[in-house]
């Protein structure tokens, strides 16, 4: 199933399907005082909501990631009691509250994950309590970012056990997930099938019967584009899922892997989450640094399993292949019609700053449709994804033949890597 990565704005862009199965709200999206006052009833997809405490962002630099750090520091698992909570009577607006307390929040930012057992216990409890208050359907235990490739995984398990202890104390009756936030720097360059870190992670998680599963998110420190292009990283994700789901009978949720989530779903992930913006498709600490740039529209082709540049590549492709690379989403129809009638671009697909409503709605509809793969049988899912990726690889070659080269707008390099990782997983899992 596809879940939408909710950021500050909960409203879905464009005409994205209302039937999107659920949403994951990030702690960095807004200050605590604001989120707890949001009315979730207005957004159908948020009736199935999860909240990511994002402890793995503890090392953000408050000097360059000011906005995100102020939001994160308002949550008690980062900076307990650093400033007074937002009070609408007293502060009248969140902006006023931020103006008043931003400096104090930045100063109190720990810049690292606490290691004192008492602080860990208190932080874990606060994160669990918040999720209960927000009415989440599952609890995501806070977990640090794994950046060191030792076999120990000791800090992470300390947090997991503190979270489980908190759940016990708070009598949590909903499924509990451990966060597996892992930097691709520790996954690249090691044969994933022999990676001792992966073995340790799945050993530790599967041994805890209290855990329903894991919330898996790779930090793409080494990527410059929107998608993961590392076979090792992708295969690691699939192997993690396989061990947890097929091996231990647990649940796996995957975030920040774009539409590779559909591949993860073939490997057994029950939920994958994404969204149109780069920050919804990938997790990279550097993305949290304050930037003034605004998003440009991108056309996502499901057949290509990637984006096609709107400035010229989409027209070149259309001239050669017609609408074979396009798909009739509600928001994408106007683009298809404009290409067919020679009136490209329609205003909602014009390549201008922030003109992303249609592109966003289109992306979400594709993600939603890909999310339906989860309802298929295992064999069928695997076959569907295999055909999809093989087709995507073929399309990269077709586009290259007509002179379209990979760029930041047109993604042509990752498809073969995705297929390779998928086939390697199948071979390892003997499926």
């Amino acid at each position: 199933m596809f879940y939408y990565n909710a950021k500050y704005a909960f409203a879905l862009p464009g005409q994205a399907p209302a039937a999107i199965a659920g949403g994951i709200i990030a702690a960095s999206a807004m200050p605590a005082g604001q989120l707890v006052r949001r009315d979730f009833r207005k957004y159908p997809y948020l009736q199935h909501r999860l909240f990511d405490p994002q402890l793995y962002l503890s090392s953000l630099d408050p000097n360059v990631a000011t906005k995100s750090v102020v939001n994160l520091a308002s949550w008690p698992w980062f900076c307990p009691g650093a400033v007074p909570e937002y009070d609408s009577d007293r502060h009248t607006s969140v902006k006023n509250w931020k103006d008043l307390h931003a400096d104090a929040l930045l100063r109190s930012w720990p810049n690292c994950v606490p290691n004192d057992p008492q602080r860990i216990g208190a932080a874990a409890k606060a994160a669990v309590k918040t999720q209960l208050q927000l009415g989440c359907e599952m609890i995501i235990l806070p977990g640090p970012l794994t950046t060191i490739a030792t076999q120990q995984y000791a800090t992470e398990t300390t947090w997991i056990d503190a979270g489980l202890e908190a759940c016990k104390a708070l009598k949590v009756g909903i499924p509990i997930l451990a966060t597996v936030a892992i930097s691709d720097s520790v996954l690249r360059g090691v044969d994933p099938t022999q990676n001792p870190l992966l073995q340790t992670i799945t050993n530790q998680l599967s041994a805890r019967g209290e855990l329903a599963g894991a919330y898996i998110l790779p930090e793409l420190a080494s990527e410059s584009g929107y998608v993961c292009t590392s076979r090792d990283t992708l295969l690691c994700i699939l192997l993690l899922i396989d061990d947890l789901v097929r091996g231990a009978g647990k649940t796996a949720l995957v975030n920040y892997v774009g539409t590779f989530g559909a591949v993860a779903s073939a490997a057994g992930a029950s939920v994958w989450s994404s969204g149109y913006y780069r920050g919804q498709r990938r997790l990279k600490l550097a993305d949290f640094e304050d930037q003034e740039g605004r998003a440009m529209p991108r056309y996502h082709s499901v057949k290509l399993a990637g984006d096609i540049g709107l400035q010229s590549d989409i027209e070149s492709s259309y001239r050669q292949f017609g609408d074979r690379l396009l798909i009739d989403t509600k928001d994408g129809l106007s683009l298809m019609r404009a290409l067919a009638s020679g009136t490209y671009p329609p205003p909602e697909w014009e390549y201008t700053q922030s003109n992303i409503a249609a592109a966003g709605g289109h992306y979400n509809e594709i993600a939603y449709r890909l999310g339906q793969i989860a309802s298929q049988s295992t064999d069928r899912r695997i076959e569907t994804v295999k055909r999809w990726l093989e087709g995507a690889v073929l399309w990269t070659s077709n586009l290259q033949k007509i002179g379209i080269t990979g760029s930041s707008q047109t993604e042509l390099t990752h498809q073969a890597v995705w297929l390779n990782a998928f086939q390697a997983w199948r071979s390892h899992a003997r499926l």
């Binding site: 076999q151 073995q199 340790t200 998680l205 599967s206 041994a207 019967g209 231990a248």
Partner: protein
């Protein structure tokens, strides 16, 4: 003396400790008995090795003076270098009261020839060790299911405190009540006495022939999956009447034999669950809590 040995490419530590003061042969028993004081009466030697020695004994009064009558297995530990960790672990185990685990009666230190020696008095389990039973021949499928049920229950209980036994083997399983009840003994302590991953990387603790793949890789943070693997090997041995690979650890962690091949007449359900316990990938092994249910059902039906 006492260094790690290598057998078929696998480094392990088999009840051998470096820098120890005493050996079984040199252990001054009478001096130890005197040091323990009149509250204890120490009897025959139960077992001895490089790690320490275990004697049968009894306790007539508690440290606070209360009159008691406890049958004990008194263990003296030779190595004091890991004492702090042992102390921490003993505190965790002290509160354990579980029908399938030997519990701690009392612990402390005595001074022997100027050396501080730790002793732990365990509840004495009146029964037969499984390894002794197996010297005569295999046990029944029903007994195997009962051992599986009870030892899995014990593993589940200690794992709830995040403790891993690390030495689940027939020698540490006591059978009683007509072989329909099993008690796991010698829990937890041994690993902390011997394990020192910071100073001895690549070494592991356990009994050769029962080590899990994770133990063989000397992974520092083991889980209950490791004990489940060792239990699986022990159950196969109990069913067949001999070690499933005739003691070859490398075969166990590369291609463990199928139970149905070793014991073709064994009940299919029993063979199936034991084979799952021997999965090379830890997450594919059943959790101890699930094993308790499976083995209880089998024990009731066999």
């Amino acid at each position: 003396m006492g260094g790690p040995r290598q057998r078929r490419g696998l480094f392990f530590r088999d009840s051998i400790l470096e820098n120890r003061v005493f050996t079984q042969a040199t252990f001054p028993l009478s001096e130890a008995n005197t040091a323990l004081g009149p509250r204890f009466q120490v009897g025959a030697l139960i077992r001895g090795g490089g790690q320490g020695v275990v004697y049968r004994g009894s306790r007539t009064s508690a440290p606070d003076g209360r009159q008691v009558r406890d049958d004990c297995a008194i263990k003296y530990y030779f190595d004091s270098s890991q004492d702090e960790r042992v102390e921490r672990e003993i505190r965790a185990l002290e509160g354990f009261r579980h029908p399938n685990l030997a519990s701690i009666v009392e612990h402390g230190h005595i001074n022997l020839s100027g050396e501080s020696v730790r002793y732990v008095a365990w509840e004495y389990i009146d029964g037969d060790p499984l390894d002794a039973k197996l010297r005569v021949g295999p046990v029944t499928a029903n007994t195997v299911a009962c051992i599986g049920r009870d030892v899995a229950r014990a593993i589940d209980h200690i794992w709830s405190k995040r403790i891993v036994h690390r030495d689940v083997a027939p020698k540490n399983m006591m059978l009683r009540r007509g072989d329909l009840e099993a008690i796991l003994i010698d829990l937890g302590i041994a690993r902390h006495l011997s394990e020192s991953p910071l100073t001895a990387p690549g070494l592991t603790w356990g009994t050769y022939g029962y080590l899990s793949p994770e133990q063989c890789r000397a992974e520092p943070n083991l889980t209950c999956h490791s004990d489940v693997f060792s239990l699986g090997v022990s159950l196969q041995e109990a069913l067949v009447g001999r070690h499933p690979t005739r003691g070859d650890q490398n075969i166990l962690v590369s291609s463990p034999p199928k139970t149905s091949d070793l014991a073709p007449s064994s009940p299919a359900g029993l063979a199936e669950i034991i084979d799952l316990m021997l999965s090379l990938r830890a997450p594919f092994r059943p959790l101890p809590a699930a094993l308790v249910i499976r083995f209880a059902d089998l024990a009731a039906s066999l």
